[in-house]
Amino acid sequence: MKDKILGIFPLDWRYDITSLPYVRSVLKSRWVPFLIIVFNLFFFTIILMAGVVGGVSAGNYNFAIMFVWILWWVMLMLVFVPFFSRIWCSTCPLPAFGEWIQRLGFLKVRNKLFGLNRKWPKQLKNMWLMNFLFLGTTYTTGFLTTRPIATFILLMAIILGSVVLSTVFERRSFCLYCCPVSGFQGLYSNIAMTEIRCKDPEVCRNHNVSTRAKALGCDYQQRDCVRGNENGYACPWLEVPFNQNRRNTYCGMCFECFKTCPYDNMAFNLRPPATDLVLDKKRGLDEAWKAFMMLGIAIFFFLIMQGPFGFLKDWANAKTLAGYLSYISVHSTFNLLIFPGIFFVFSYASHALGRTELPLKRVFINFSYTLVPLGLMAWIAFSVGIIFANGSYLIHVISDPFGWGWNLLGTANFPWTPFMTGMVPYMQIGGLLLGLALSLDIGFKIARQTFKNRDEAVMGFYPIAAFLTVTTMFLMWLFTG
């Protein structure tokens, strides 16, 4: 019997969206994603301007804050990541300057990239740097969501960082290993209901010896998607696109492989959610910690932004130095040590009950991936609470983006109007329960990979199931209590 997600969706079910000829021709065009990047660049130019000239401290009436931290962040968690994986990364305008400098052009394809093109240090080829950079960014959450200039500084730091690193390191090294928002998008994209994979692995396997490849002048050592050709660049994300046993984590969804593949063998698949989490390959401590941190940060963000504890808001807003240092200490200790520590205790119990020969570290890492569905759903629950309560500010700022008294669309005087807030707790509970169901389902599949037989898997999974259930109950109490 085929394995299914939630007992409904067969794990290997796929539908290639690019089987629709028009979609395929759009994705093969060099204008995609360029045109979307230009569109986003326009918006981010306005955002950066609003960060400087759009007001001093009225965050909820500032275009930069509203569009970045209310609209973009919520879209990322609610739509982009769960449905389209890292599609944002392919259209993100922030690292585009770095990439255009490397390519010395916008649409043309060059064989050699400008810059030093150094390899990223091997020790840093993981998520640790991104984990710490993201954690560091969350230290400023009190400023980012209330002071427009803080958002300007963060975005400019990302732009400048990507430009500098793009001239030193190869391709999208900045996005892969440095961007603070890249890590969680990568990890949570394992849940995404889309993926880019090859259509027929056999075609890729035979690529080296094909006469067509010879005719196109391919180097037989490498496939076109890996080394690039006259139609497109080598995978900017340093992926091996034809590898079927990869996860979405590091695929930037740029569709460059669609352009380079001489056999038109790439597919943009619809798939059941969370299928990547079942893949028993390349699981690591860096990603495990990302899962802990993301869930922990969701809890902290809720407490700071929507919770009843005024003193926490004051701490995060740095009302006093002592309070701010307390926030950093408590926030870091909980996310880096306490939360993973609690999970470790449950992993230890799992290891003991399941009696596996695998090391405890492996059990700990494997099961940490069960936090991914629950973590994403916690963020979705958090985002739902933000967008329905505060979304109406967007209607104001779109008409008066700089607070200069404009009324571009006639909505500058639209009052703050919370929308469907009575439904929010139900949506949050529903989302969290769905997250729990997915986490339990994925968790048991991981248990079967981790332990020798079904009985041991059941025994070994009990502590993890208990942890997931208790955490979900806590989150439900937190969000709706």
Partner: protein, 136 residues
Amino acid sequence: MQKKQIVEIIAGLMIITATAGAIAGTFLYEDMLNNERKTIVILALALEFGNWSPPEIKLVEGEPVRLKIRNTDTVTHGFAVPELGIGIDEPVEIKAGHVAKIDITPTKKGTFLYVCTVWCSKQHPKMVGRIIISEK
């Protein structure tokens, strides 16, 4: 010129339009709006965060002017020039993030105080600026 070069130029122009064009367009539009009438921008901030900016504005008797008061603060502010009758019969209340526009033509010369009329902070009574109206 090759087709590829033309395409690159078009792409480059699109990027310039999206960035420099957006910035230039913003300021041109603001200038266009302000050209309708001489406009003076006043920032409303509680005393702790900077007070009215500028704290002193100079007008000329008989010359029409638009006061554009931007509340860039997190609290509501008010605006009144009691001696000129501004904001007295029709109180001007400006919510955080909003802008009030007041068109006036000064009819008497002298120095007048403009004040915040909404209790905005502990230092609210000190949130005062000056309008100096000179002879034409």
